[in-house]
């Protein structure tokens, strides 16, 4: 950017970026454009439908209005079921996620084999989406809340385990050293120097995951794994659009209540 300084004034040009930066920028822009052009041309879309889409969407919206509250009782019951699935699954996950995070943290893992086993569990759990887990468990245990609870659990283990593992790895090592110096065994060192330090992170992570799980459990029913999704699927299948609208409003209400509750808990506990 300073190359023009010793040259005559007429040759001075100002550029925002130097040559190499500019080339990289052009290359990135070009690559993005090529990707987009390829995606647009190659994708399996019937374009007249696209132009008709706003029409269709507003049509659907019109059919939903006004929301029909006649099935409110059933919807509220299904909502409670949804919350139960999320809460129970989050609670149960703790018992699996804590040992996994313990063996997946560099500084507490008993040995390398355990470390890799722990990491494998975390990666496997995190890479499969809740709804895919649900699909699998519905196939095994049949439609119902058990499949939903298991699906939420299997996904949450990775989330909670990974964040807890990181929290364990980031603790202050000095109390650990002090506990070692008193002649404490490994279990006692964990109880005194590790557990108190990760407590705040633990609560924050559980609360965060509970909030996420509430959202996740609203869709479990779409593959038959219990909760509000079952009713939603039923209403859509029978074209009961006003009922669908009521369910959607109920979901927004649930999610907002969940968010308010988690921020309250966060303030109280932490």
């Amino acid at each position: 950017m300073v190359e023009g300084q010793t040259e005559p004034a007429v040759d001075r040009v100002w550029r925002r970026y130097d040559r190499r930066q500019r080339l990289i920028r052009y290359a990135v822009v070009l690559a993005v454009m090529m990707a987009v052009v390829w995606a647009v041309r190659d994708i399996d879309i019937f374009w007249p439908w696209v132009w008709d889409a706003p029409n269709q969407i507003s049509n659907l919206g019109a059919r939903m209005w006004p929301p029909d509250p006649t099935r409110l009782g059933a919807i509220v019951a299904a909502m409670l079921e949804t919350v139960h699935i999320a809460t129970l699954a989050t609670m149960l996950t703790i018992f699996i996620a804590l040992p996994v995070s313990y063996i997946a943290a560099q500084n507490t893992t008993p040995n390398r084999a355990c470390l890799w086993l722990g990491r494998f569990i975390l990666v496997a759990s995190r890479s499969v989406n809740t709804i895919i887990w649900a699909l699998l468990f519905v196939a095994i245990f049949g439609p119902g809340v058990l499949a939903g609870i298991l699906a939420i659990m299997f996904r949450s283990v990775g989330f909670i385990g990974k964040l807890m593992g990181e929290a364990i790895e980031e603790i202050d090592k000095r109390p650990v050293e002090a506990m070692e110096a008193t002649g404490a065994s490994k279990a006692k060192i964990i109880a005194y120097a590790v557990v108190p330090q990760v407590m705040p992170a633990f609560f924050a992570i559980i609360i965060l995951r509970w909030d996420i799980n509430i959202r996740e459990s609203t869709v479990l029913g779409l593959v038959g794994a219990g909760g509000i999704g079952v009713i939603l699927q039923g209403a859509i299948d029978t074209f009961a659009w006003p009922t669908v609208a009521t369910i959607l409003i109920a979901i927004i209400a649930l999610v907002l209540i969940g968010e308010a509750l988690t921020s309250l808990l966060r303030r109280k506990v932490l």
Binding site: N129, T130, A178, T182, S185, Y192, P196
Partner: protein
């Protein structure tokens, strides 16, 4: 009696941090170990309770060899060696009493430790020691609510709860302001004579070393180059220990409390 002989520590193939150290500490003497940063003071103390594994040599506490101990035997030996740290090394989120009782972890069983149901005698001893150093009224306060000097007194009481046969102090005053650090040194001095306990103190401050201790050991590049009375620690000896070495400030940085950014998980 603590007898160290031929103590050597080297990390990998690097030059040794400690070379052939011999030191005998008897009775209730209080000893200062002085030396520049990196002279091996800290490593030496940590070799004694085996927080650092010595490469070779022998360390005997009241006739028992410490160097070849393993597992439960090592932990039993550590109970008899109290340690006070530069950064206090308290468990911030626990109460002062829990921190103090943690000194008994080598004695109680896991159930007692986890449920905090310590024997009455331990609790009595904790109160007595805390009263001795004037922190008993903080028993149920969280450790991080205390000032630096008070925190270090908790650290000292925790070490004394072990009923140690020797007390190690690794730069116990380096994180404290001058007045508080004088108080801690005075406390260590009087505790050593009250409990007739040998005390080894790593210390930077030569003035304090001469005032509060009975014997000074000078380390340089892992070798002992001075061992004598404080009055004999003359300017020449000071030059020999510290000369030509840039004095570096060995203050401990506050534990980095990183705000964790909670990642957005795709639903």
């Amino acid at each position: 009696m603590l007898e160290i002989s031929g103590l050597t520590k080297r990390y990998g193939q690097d030059a040794p941090v400690l070379t052939g150290l011999d030191l005998t500490v008897e009775g209730n003497s209080i000893i200062a170990i002085v030396g520049a940063s990196g002279a091996g003071k800290s490593t030496m103390l940590r070799c004694i309770n085996r927080l650092v594994e010595p490469t070779s040599g022998s360390i005997r506490l009241n006739g028992h060899e410490l160097v070849d101990l393993k597992g439960a035997e090592l932990r039993r030996a550590r109970r008899r060696i109290g340690m006070v740290f530069q950064g206090f090394n308290l468990i911030d989120r626990l109460t002062v009493m829990e921190n103090v009782l943690a000194g008994r972890l080598g004695y109680v069983n896991l159930f007692q430790a986890v449920t905090r149901r310590y024997p009455a005698s331990d609790i009595e001893r904790a109160f007595q020691l805390m009263e001795r150093v004037d922190i008993a009224h903080y028993a149920n306060k969280r450790a991080d609510e205390l000032s630096g000097g008070e925190r270090q007194r908790v650290g000292v009481v925790r070490a004394l709860m072990q009923e140690p046969e020797v007390l190690l102090a690794d730069e116990p005053t380096a994180s404290l302001d001058p007045r508080t650090s004088e108080q801690i040194m005075m406390l260590l001095q009087s505790l050593a004579s009250e409990l007739s306990l040998p005390v080894l103190i790593n210390i930077h401050n030569v003035g304090q070393a001469k005032t509060y201790t009975e014997r000074i050991v000078g380390l340089r590049h892992g070798r002992m180059i001075f061992d004598g009375l404080p009055d004999d620690f003359t300017h020449d000896a000071l030059e020999a220990v510290y000369g030509g070495i840039e004095a570096s400030d060995e203050s401990i940085a506050p534990a980095a409390k990183r705000q964790r950014e909670v990642p957005h998980e795709p639903f």
